[in-house]
Symmetry: C2
Subunit: 161 residues, 2 copies
């Protein structure tokens, strides 16, 4: 059932049910980023809410076992809730174990990356401002700086030359 | 571990872990609304993310068995994801069964209410704009109008004189 909203525009279904396999009705499973635009592995993206009436979007990212998101930073903040699975995340220069329903705050201009463990996918919700800046990728100098912290060097090993 | 954000302000912990019983570290379980300010039953509220860097907030509401949120409407929209349990919601003049990970969109100025089933609590995430208008409660005339739809009349029965 679709309803008309305040502006008279058809606003899509009120309820979109979860389907099997961590997908939803009326939600496309899309590429995480353009292939070759950045370093990542085994990622998919689903935009759950991107309503012009809301100033933020809610996305669901799934990371396949041993996959990882792009190591990046940006001015906009992330608010993350793990929906299922286990993994680790780098935020700033710290590495954290994360599991179901843990909350992760990524502040402005802070390097971050999410990795699934070897056993199962890691799925997480991520709330972001609808209007936001583009992610920055690490330069060679940024990587050198990050690698000075042993736990960061170990976390990002094997991704970069 | 707390980190300093861009503005030099201490920004709270990066990771807040889920505790037992659907609560989180560093997240207060608060009253849903002031007692006596509106009609509701068996509701609690936890604000998971309310970061000034984000233009939206993410809250977790838990509804005890047979409990219900306030029947209300407002200009701001809601984006809801059921985290666990089963129940029903009224959105506009339709009633929907909802369960884990179902998505619910509540458009502007649309009457809505969430109810848990009799067996287990219903817990859901709700994303809203940080700057938003106050909810409106139904007038006697609004209730008369709503009750013209039999499914709405049945859904809101026993709450109002």
């Amino acid at each position: 059932m679709a309803i008309e909203n305040d502006s008279g525009r058809a606003a899509g279904p009120v309820v979109r049910r979860r389907k099997s396999g961590r997908t939803w009705e009326h939600v496309d499973v899309t590429r995480y980023k353009e292939e070759g635009s950045a370093v990542f592995r085994g990622m998919s993206r689903q935009v759950l809410f991107a309503d012009p009436a809301l100033q933020a979007e809610l996305r669901y990212f799934e990371v396949q076992p041993d996959g990882f998101s792009t190591l990046e930073r940006h001015v906009h903040a992330h608010a993350v809730l793990v929906l299922h699975g286990h993994g680790r995340c780098l935020v700033g220069t710290e590495v954290f174990d994360i599991g179901p329903h843990d909350l992760v705050s990524v502040p402005a201009l802070t390097w971050h990356q999410f990795r699934a463990g070897p056993e199962e996918p890691l799925g997480f919700l991520c709330m972001v401002n609808a209007r936001r800046d583009r992610p920055q990728l690490p330069s060679r100098e940024d990587l050198e700086e990050l690698r000075r912290q042993p736990q960061v060097a170990a976390f990002i090993a094997h991704q970069f030359q």
